[in-house]
């Protein structure tokens, strides 16, 4: 099985996105997946997804446009109000991938 590439996006490109990325790796690891995460801010998304393949985007700031990738809002995970909902969405998106 190949590694899942996740792009984690927040306003600074480093703070909340790192928090979320860590959680995403843990969640996927628990399910037996291996994930690689990259953090950036919304302005960095276009360049990153042009230069390499990402499987999905998780984000805590609004994205600049619609991308041809599954995108998951991670605020519920950040604040702890909807960790389960986030995990469900994440795993559902991962199940759609060709791994």
């Amino acid at each position: 099985m190949r590694t899942i590439n996740v792009l984690s996006v927040c306003g600074s490109g480093s703070v909340t996105s790192s928090m979320i990325a860590g959680n995403v790796r843990d969640m996927l690891d628990e399910q037996g997946y291996q994930a690689h995460t990259v953090e950036c801010n919304p302005n960095g998304v276009d360049e990153l997804i042009t230069n390499r393949d990402f499987d999905l985007i998780v984000h805590t700031s609004p994205l600049k446009r619609v991308y041809g990738l599954p995108t998951i809002n991670a605020i519920g995970l950040l604040t702890g109000t909807d960790e389960e909902g986030f995990e469900e969405e994440l795993l559902a998106a991962v199940k759609q991938l060709k791994l």
């Binding site: 703070v15 790192s18 928090m19 805590t60 700031s61 609004p62 605020i75 950040l78």
Partner: protein, 157 residues
């Protein structure tokens, strides 16, 4: 609360401001920026930077207990690390993080003046835990004693 240069956190009881009225978010940002400027914690560019960042990357959070907001400007506008606690007497609107449509009405607003992203990460992790602590939040939302709020924050960090 003044955050030290390293992981150690120093605090300032003067950085608690409760029960004041602000016309709107802009008035709040303006007053707080002036206040922080007087304390020599931020550069002159802080107000504009704060406003622009909030417009582009909103910081309102809807948590299980109360809505909160954590407005901040990029580190270059901050002179000394701090966290300022503000609880307005009236309702103000903030856009919710990650969304351009929804708004929240934060009960408490924490102005984060952090200088390095490594520090920001640990502070943010602590804050998220605190926002879900009923005891902590109840006191933050209802206490009218600056000293009590200061102690709570100091203990938490």
């Amino acid at each position: 609360m003044i955050v030290g240069n390293s992981q150690s956190l120093a605090f300032d009881r003067e950085l608690v401001r409760i029960n004041r009225y602000y016309q709107d978010q802009d008035a709040l940002f303006h007053e707080i920026a002036t206040w922080l400027r007087e304390k020599d914690l931020v550069h002159e560019t802080y107000y504009e930077a704060l406003k622009e960042r909030e417009a582009e990357f909103p910081t309102g959070l809807h948590t299980t207990l109360y809505d909160v907001a954590i407005p901040h400007a990029d580190p270059v506008h901050v002179k000394k690390p701090f966290i300022a606690f503000v609880r307005p007497e009236n309702e103000l609107f903030f856009n919710e993080m990650a969304s351009r449509e929804r708004t929240v009405k934060p009960k408490i607003i924490l102005f984060l003046g952090l200088m390095k992203s490594e520090d920001q990460l640990s502070v943010l992790q602590k804050l998220m835990k605190l926002f879900s602590s009923e005891e902590f939040m109840r006191d933050c939302v209802y206490s009218n004693d600056n000293e009590r709020i200061f102690e709570l924050l100091e203990k938490a960090f």
